[in-house]
């Protein structure tokens, strides 16, 4: 199994043009560095692995409890600032996956209360870490 590496995540989280206005005279603002901080917490800071041959995308090198935990927390966190709705999520999954029913079923439950506070974050965490998503 090959895993989505952090460079891909970074591209997908491309900041808005406003955020990208660097002036090269002062340090990037914290808002501009937000993605950097988040990816650092993900444990996979792009272009900064310990070794110069880059992050591996192979399962053997990747799979470990802490990295999975970081992905769970990461997904929950970005869901908060994505300002998207569940309907949007549904349409994205439907357009991209053959087995979209199976994926969406994981967050369709009778009692919405079990998702608790930040329900969308928890749902997004499930979707983003589904086996279909982790694999390339």
């Amino acid at each position: 199994m090959v895993f989505t590496n952090s460079e891909n995540v970074w591209v997908e989280l491309a900041p808005t043009s406003e955020q990208m206005e660097y002036n090269f005279k002062t340090r990037p603002t914290d808002l501009q560095r937000k993605i950097y901080f988040r990816l650092e917490e993900l444990g996979h800071l792009p272009y900064r692995p310990q070794q110069p041959n880059g992050w591996s995308d192979l399962q053997e090198d990747w799979i470990s409890p802490e990295l999975l935990i970081r992905r769970l927390i990461f997904a929950k966190g970005i869901a908060f600032s994505m300002k998207r709705t569940e309907d949007h999520l549904q349409s994205v999954i439907e357009k991209n996956f053959d087995n979209h029913d199976k994926i969406m079923k994981r967050i369709k439950v009778q009692d919405e209360k079990i998702f608790g506070f930040n329900a969308f974050g928890n749902k997004f965490s499930i979707i983003a870490n589904s086996p279909e998503m982790l694999k390339v």
Binding site: P65, E66, N122
Partner: protein, 385 residues
């Protein structure tokens, strides 16, 4: 998921691992022994940690780096004052040192060196597993590894189901997320992911809700000790320390290198306090890619060298000693005229340590972990059998 050969092999190997758990020597009722490795990235200076007493060559070449307030070990060697826990343990027959030792790598690159200190090989990036992981696989120590680091160090790869812990800043998502994903992985036949999820679910509360400062070395060591002292817990732990690469302002009694030595000391101190009686069945070893040059440079630091030292602690130490075949520090005795010569292959010590802790024949480990390379068996000389 489609049934391809690849998926079949993944599923098949997972079931092999599961049966393997039943046959680990721990399950057979032997006393649980812990092996703890502290990786020191950047190249620890053996001559700062364990200076030679009264060596004129050292005095002459390292005027600004001579340590004044040393703790005396024997007539030849002393200990850096920041390593005082090792000195306490030395007096209780629970610490020993190996000097003038290194892995066979004689280049000067951190990247290559760190890769080789973990893989145990001779060609950088050739091996995709670590010597510790391979050793654990030989001993059937499946699910026994714990890394206090992110990402999983190469050192532990080669054996499945290792745990790693380096607390995240946010809290885990709610339980429903864990449960839902766990069953999704099971459904899709992703056994490895599901087993990782199982490890996460079994974590004690103190690990899932870490407080402030949970990432400092003392807290990590405390958390590791809690798990290591339990019979069902892991028996192998790996710490990762960085910053030993002191090219400038290395310092002597205090300073950059001293600060990092203190981190090692802190870890050992916490482990000793929190392991309790298990400390008597524990072996702690340090691992670094190379030592540093004898001569100080213009910035009062040192460059990448070769020979260094291994610090050892724990109840499985045979006798307090500085185990060395000392090559001397005269110009002609140095490696390439600049570094302490390594007279003992460090891998021989790690091989012997694994043999003691895993209850495996050292010859078997030498063949299967280190490809039968010429490594002497030091278990009788260094460790309690």
């Amino acid at each position: 998921m489609n049934c391809t050969r690849r998926n079949f092999l993944i599923g098949g190997s997972a079931s092999v691992f599961l049966t393997g758990i039943n046959f680990s020597s721990k399950a057979l009722g032997k006393d649980k022994k812990n092996l703890i490795i502290i990786s020191l990235r950047g190249g620890m200076d053996g001559l700062t940690a364990i200076p030679v007493i009264g060596d004129k060559n050292l005095m002459k070449q390292r005027k600004k780096l001579i340590i004044e307030d040393t703790l005396k070990l024997n007539s030849d060697f002393a200990l850096h004052p920041k390593l005082h826990t090792f000195h306490d343990l030395w007096q209780n027959n629970q610490a020993a040192f190996v000097h003038a030792t290194s892995i066979p790598y004689t280049g000067r690159s951190h990247f290559d060196g760190q890769n080789l200190m973990e893989s145990g090989g001779k060609v950088p990036y050739q091996e995709k597993t670590g010597w510790l992981g391979r050793g654990m696989m030989v001993a059937n120590y499946v699910g026994e590894g714990l890394a206090l680091a992110l990402p999983m160090p190469l050192l532990l790869r080669g054996v499945p189901l290792n745990d790693n812990y380096y607390p995240a800043k946010g809290g885990l998502p709610s339980n429903i997320v864990i449960k839902s994903l766990s069953s999704a992985y099971k459904e899709s036949g992703e056994m490895n992911l599901q087993m990782v999820m199982d490890i996460i679910q079994k974590r004690p509360l103190s690990m899932t809700t870490p407080g402030k400062g949970a990432r400092n070395h003392r807290s990590l060591a405390k958390e590791a000790a809690k798990l290591l002292r339990v019979e069902e817990g892991p028996s192998v732990a790996v710490f990762d320390l960085d910053g030993f690469d002191t090219h400038a302002a290395q310092g002597n009694d205090d300073g950059l290198h001293a600060d990092h030595l203190k981190e090692i000391n802190d870890i050992v101190e916490e482990l000793r306090e929190n392991l309790g009686d298990s400390f008597n069945n524990t072996l702690i070893l340090t691992l670094t890619e190379f030592g540093r040059t004898i001569r100080q440079n213009g910035g009062n630091g040192t460059e990448h060298g070769w020979g260094g030292a291994i610090l050892m602690a724990g109840g499985l130490i045979k006798t307090p000693q500085v185990f060395t075949d000392w090559p001397g520090l005269k110009k002609g005795d140095l490696f390439e005229g600049r570094d302490l010569l390594s007279t003992i292959d460090a891998r021989a010590i790690y091989n012997s340590a694994m043999a003691i802790c895993f209850n495996v024949d050292p010859e078997k480990l030498r063949q299967e972990v280190f490809w039968g390379e010429d490594l002497q068996d030091l278990s009788e000389k260094l460790f309690k059998i």
